[in-house]
Each structure stands twice: as structure tokens, then as C-alpha cells.
């Protein structure tokens, strides 16, 4: 930026206050100095000046008003200063007034060249058309004064614009996880503004102090390795420094890139410290002035991140609560569905009892039928199982997993399998055990969880298995207990495609697909075992045409291992 480029609002140049002061100053010059012209020339000139100014306000079109007033100002200054000693500084005061007004009111029209031209022409005229360098240097110094005031004004306006911009960016992106855009936009705005002529910002990073280690939380640039190498060891400086809102120059390395000219700005927002690292492109005497000028902008950004972070924390907590509620509803629906399905045999039994005792016209034949039905049922055990399972389902899988592994004998575990097997198939011959001294083998296990796993697997065998082709094999080798559930597939040739698909889905790492297909039993087993990091797979034996579910248990498990 140069003086020529200064925006000069000629329309607002002639303020009423300036005119009044100018008239007083000119009168003072008249009384202080020796005057060339007779008195009446000065007084009639100033009267004419005031009159023409008045007419100028009333008549002239807006566009040319300022220019005419500038001519009038220069004319009256020339009359009063003609052949006066310009080495006397007070005599420059009228020019100072013109400059001061220019600085205060310049904004739109770039007519500052006209202003300079007229001032220096006036000085040239006052010097009796001879060029005296010293007389022209004094207004030159005034231009520098104007320039500094202009910059101060500009930065102030720029700060306001930036705060507005940052606020808008935040509002636009409040629901998005792209708040890094604020930093990128700040760089873009600063670099493309007039401030960019002094220096440009290359990157901005935002750190927080986490247990006396700086952690990068935002950056205008994506960073893969956020290890910070600081030339001044900023972390220890901050650790030993109780002062707030510190400001340091530094040379840092982030993600392998060296930012030689960088400045740290700290802002404490409530209980949280934010550290901005502003990397500049070049060294300049204006750097510190610029960075400190931008301090309010960065404080505002810090506040926004703080607020954004607080909102996100609340939002995450809400989401967690909503997820928990959804999971609860989902689990409750599952439980209800499970209970309703399983209760049919029990309601039938109750209905039979009702009829047996209440139906007066029940025939002897029907009575015998009901008696036989009731004798063959074992609903007590089933009701217990249904209620127990429903309770677990309604509380969710996590509830089962919360139960810690306990050291039990392998016999106790196998007894659970036998109990379930006996209930469904009325025999225990198909539970084949090839392990000696069951009582002496101890195993670390969540027994409740396995009760559910065994129940579900055996129920599936009961539902889908072929008569006569069901078995469980329990073996032990190298501290690993293998439990293999196997059942003949009713119609292998017809179902093999669907069964292969289920096997593939079951053995996938991601459980969602199989869960979506409503294979509740299978996905329930799988979820439990995976969460406990227990090796489990299902496979089809094509030769034997069997569907197999294999569980491999380590005798001693590390409780901490879980997926």
C-alpha cells in the first residue's frame, strides 16, 4: 500500500469543525505574523471563503462539493500564508488540519493525489514559486502520521469484520465436524486483505495443554503426526510460567514441516488454556504488531472452540442416552418376541387345565387326552428358562458380560450342556465326552453366559436338526477345551446355498448383517462369544452333511482381552 492508494473521502473532507478551526488558525496567523496585504484583503477573503463555503453546501452537486471545498481551503490558506515564513512550524498548522480531516474521513474515493498536489502547489506558491525542499518535507512527515493512523483504523475495522466472519462460520458449521474451516478461512481473509502486504500467515494451529503436554486439537492443515518440536521448549516455559495470555516467538516443527517464524498466543477461556501457533511466511518488523493486533480475534476463536466443545460434549452425552434408550427398546422388543413365541406350549397347558376342571360337558375321551398331555409336559422348567432368558434379553448383552469369569470344574460346565440336552431331546447319550477326570479340570468361565450360549445352540439344533443326527463332542488338548455341536441338515441339497450364506455371515468380523437378518439365536451367541474373545465358528461338513458350531475355550483366560 502507498500513500497514493489511501482512500480519500473528499465528500466528507470539509467538516464543519475543521472549517471553524481553520478560520481561527488563519486569524491567529494573521495576528502573529507580519502581513503583506492590507487588512481588508484578509477579512474580505475570509468572508468570501465562508460565503462560498456556505453556497457550496447549499448549491453544488454532491460529487464535486469536496473538490471545490479543497480548492477554497487551499486558496484561503495561500492568501493568509502568502510571503509568510514557512520555517515557522505554526504556519503549517492549516495543512495539518487538512491532513487530519483527510485521515478521519477518507474511505471511498481515491483522490488523495489531488490533495497532495494542491498542498504542494500551495507551498510552491507561498515560497514565491521557488522550490524549498525543507518546506515540502514537513507535509511528507504528516503523511506518515496519517498513514499510521490509517493502519490503526484499518486493523480496528478488520478485527470487527473478522469477528463477524468467525461468528458466521461457527453458526454455519455448528452441526458439522469441520470447525477447522474457521482457521482456514481466517488465513484466507487475512492474506487476501490489505494486511497481507505486510506479511502472510502460512498456517494456524491450536493446542491445548493436556497434563503438561501440548496436544494439537485443530489446524488449518491436516496433520498426521502431531508431535511438536519447539526451539524454545514452549511446554516447559508454560509449565514454569504463571502469567496468563503469554506471547512468544518460536521456530517449530510439526509433521516434518518447519515453521521458522511462528508466534504463540495463549488464551485462557474459563478453566481451559488454548495455545494458538501462528506461522508467518516471512520475518518483518510488523510481525509482533500484527499478531498482537489479532489477539482479540484469536481469543474469540478460542471462545468459539470452547463453546463448540461444550456443545459437543452435551450432544455426545445426549446421543449416548438416546442410544442406550434405543438399545433398551430393542432388547425389550426382542425379549417380548422371545417370550411370546416360547409361551405358546405353556398357555396351551394352562388352557387344558382350565378345560379339564371347568368344562362341564368334557367327554371322557377328551379328559384322557388332556391327562396324557399334562403328564407328558415339563412346563415348569421351561417357564423358568423363558423368564430367565427374557430378563437377560431385556437388560442387554452387556449385563451378561458384566459377570466375571470364575474358576469352575469342567464337569459343572458339561452338566449345563447335559441339562439342556436332556430337556430338549430326552437323552444324554449324544453328549460325547472324551475327557478324563472332569472334576479335576478347572476352567475360568462366565457360567451364566455359557448357559445362554448352550441353550440357544441346542434350541437351534432342536428346531433345524434332523432326527437322529445330533451330538455334542467335548474334548481337551493343550489347555484348550473344544465343544462341538453338530446336527444333520434335514435337506442339505436344497438348503446348502442359504446355509453357506449364513455360515459366511456368521464368521464375518462385522456382526451387523447377520443381526439384520433376524437370526436372533445365532447372532446372540456370536455377540456374546466375540465380546469375550472366545474362538467360535460354524461350518458345514459337506460329506457328513452336518451343521457344526465349534467353541474353543482356553482353560485360563485373560479377562482383559475383549473385542
Amino acid at each position: 500500500m502507498s500513500v497514493k492508494n489511501l482512500e480519500y473521502d473528499i465528500k466528507r473532507f470539509n467538516s464543519l469543525v475543521l472549517r471553524i478551526i481553520l478560520v481561527f488558525v488563519l486569524n491567529a496567523i494573521f495576528f502573529i505574523n507580519e502581513n503583506i496585504f492590507p487588512k481588508w484583503v484578509y477579512f474580505s477573503s475570509i468572508s468570501l471563503y465562508v460565503l462560498l463555503l456556505f453556497l457550496n453546501y447549499l448549491t453544488t452537486k454532491n460529487l464535486s462539493k469536496g473538490v471545490l471545498r479543497l480548492f477554497l481551503d487551499c486558496f484561503i490558506i495561500c492568501v493568509f500564508l502568502y510571503k509568510k515564513d514557512l520555517d515557522y512550524v505554526f504556519n503549517y498548522f492549516p495543512f495539518l488540519l487538512l491532513l487530519f480531516n483527510t485521515q478521519n474521513h477518507s474511505s471511498k474515493n481515491g483522490k488523495f493525489w489531488l490533495f497532495i498536489l494542491l498542498i504542494h502547489l500551495s507551498i510552491f506558491t507561498l515560497d514565491n514559486f521557488s522550490f524549498k525542499l525543507t518546506h515540502h518535507i514537513i507535509p511528507g512527515l504528516l503523511y506518515i502520521f496519517i498513514f499510521i493512523l490509517y493502519i490503526r483504523n484499518f486493523i480496528s475495522l478488520f478485527k470487527e469484520d473478522m469477528l463477524y466472519l468467525v461468528g458466521n462460520l461457527f453458526i454455519e458449521n455448528v452441526n458439522e465436524n469441520n470447525s477447522h474451516r474457521i482457521l482456514k478461512n481466517i488465513i484466507q481473509q487475512i492474506n487476501s486483505s490489505k494486511i497481507g502486504m505486510f506479511n502472510k500467515i502460512s498456517e494456524i494451529f491450536l493446542f491445548i495443554n493436556n497434563n503438561e503436554k501440548f496436544v494439537l486439537i485443530k489446524g488449518s492443515k491436516f496433520v498426521t503426526n502431531n508431535d511438536l518440536k519447539s526451539s524454545i521448549n514452549i511446554e516447559s516455559i508454560i509449565k514454569n510460567n504463571d502469567e496468563k495470555n503469554i506471547f512468544f516467538k518460536d521456530s517449530v516443527e510439526i509433521d516434518g514441516i518447519n515453521y521458522k517464524i511462528s508466534y504463540w498466543l495463549q488464551h485462557k477461556i474459563l478453566e481451559k488454556d488454548y495455545y494458538f501457533l501462528i506461522a508467518l511466511k516471512k520475518d518483518s518488523i510488523f510481525n509482533e504488531f500484527l499478531i498482537t493486533s489479532f489477539r482479540p480475534i484469536f481469543e474469540y476463536i478460542g471462545r468459539i472452540y470452547y463453546m463448540s466443545n461444550s456443545l459437543m460434549t452435551i450432544s455426545n452425552e445426549n446421543q449416548k442416552i438416546i442410544k442406550q434408550k434405543i438399545a433398551y427398546v430393542f432388547d425389550a422388543q426382542n425379549a417380548l418376541h422371545y417370550v411370546k413365541n416360547k409361551l405358546t406350549p405353556i398357555t396351551s397347558t394352562i388352557n387344558l387345565i382350565d378345560r379339564y376342571f371347568k368344562q362341564k360337558d368334557l367327554s371322557a375321551e377328551n379328559k384322557i387326552y388332556i391327562e396324557n398331555r399334562l403328564l407328558s409336559n415339563n412346563n415348569n422348567y421351561e417357564i423358568k428358562q423363558i423368564i430367565k432368558k427374557a430378563e437377560i434379553l431385556i437388560k442387554g448383552v452387556d449385563n451378561i458380560l458384566e459377570e466375571k469369569d470364575k474358576c469352575i470344574s469342567l464337569k459343572a460346565l458339561i452338566d449345563d450342556i447335559r441339562k439342556n440336552w436332556l430337556f430338549h431331546f430326552n437323552n444324554i447319550d449324544d453328549v460325547i465326552i472324551t475327557v478324563q477326570n472332569l472334576k479335576n479340570i478347572k476352567i475360568e468361565i462366565n457360567q451364566m453366559m455359557f448357559d445362554f450360549v448352550f441353550t440357544d445352540i441346542i434350541e437351534n439344533i432342536n428346531k433345524y436338526g434332523k432326527e437322529g443326527g445330533k451330538r455334542v463332542e467335548i474334548s481337551h488338548e493343550n489347555d484348550i477345551i473344544t465343544i462341538l455341536f453338530s446336527n444333520k441338515i434335514s435337506d442339505y441339497d436344497r438348503d446348502k446355498r442359504e446355509l453357506d450364506e449364513i455360515v459366511n455371515l456368521y464368521n464375518l468380523t462385522n456382526n451387523d448383517e447377520i443381526y439384520n437378518r433376524k437370526t436372533h439365536g445365532l447372532s446372540f451367541i456370536r455377540r456374546l462369544l466375540r465380546r469375550k474373545n472366545i474362538e467360535n465358528k460354524i461350518f458345514i461338513n459337506k460329506e457328513e452333511k452336518t451343521f457344526n458350531n465349534e467353541i474353543k475355550l482356553k482353560r485360563y483366560r485373560d479377562e482383559n482381552i475383549s473385542i
Binding site: K340, T344, T347, K463, I502
Partner: protein
Amino acid sequence: MKILVFENEIPKVKDAFNDVNELDFNKSLKIEYVDKSQNFGDYKMTSQYDVIFVDIDLSPTSFKDGYGVIEDILKFGNKNIVVLTGNMVEDELKKRGLSDLKILSKPIFLDELKEVIEDFE
């Protein structure tokens, strides 16, 4: 009276149907059970049944779920369908234009089952 039952867990409902048949219909019901949509065969034959019970949640190895089975049955003109379910399916049936169908909720009560079958006699 011929009855067809599409049910995933046949053992769970079989007793209820047998009880009703024995006690209320004097063994006059001929009940057939199918656990998967593909196990029925030719759906033209569904028109021969007096009432068809369809469980909405069929086996995962079933080609079609209960809704698919109902659509196939309706194609061949038999509207004597009863939806068997342990879930709330009214809204879904309405969406699919099947709100006219009777619903028998699980667990099945013998008297309710008897009344539903009697409605189609």
C-alpha cells in the same frame, strides 16, 4: 377342514393345533406344517386349504418371510389367511394393504385358535 401352517418353530405351536383339533373339532382338521417358504412347493395348491396360518418371522433360511408368503398365497386367490405373530404387525400390514387379514397373537390360546378356525368353517 384343511389347514396349512407356515411356522418357524413348529414344535412350539403344534401342541396347540393338535389340542384344538382333538378337543374342539373332533379330529376333523387336517393340519400341515411348513417351516420355510420354499418347502411348500407349488403355491397354486394353497387354494385348496380352508385356512392358512402364516407366521411373519420365518426361518432365516426361508427364501421369503411371512409377508412374502402371504403375497404368494393371495396371487392364487385364497384370502383365508391368519397372521401368526409375536410382534406388533398391524402398521406393517396396513402399509402393505393387508389390513383385512385376521391376526392371531402369540402365545396362542386354545379358545382364540378355536374361534379363528370356526370363522372359516
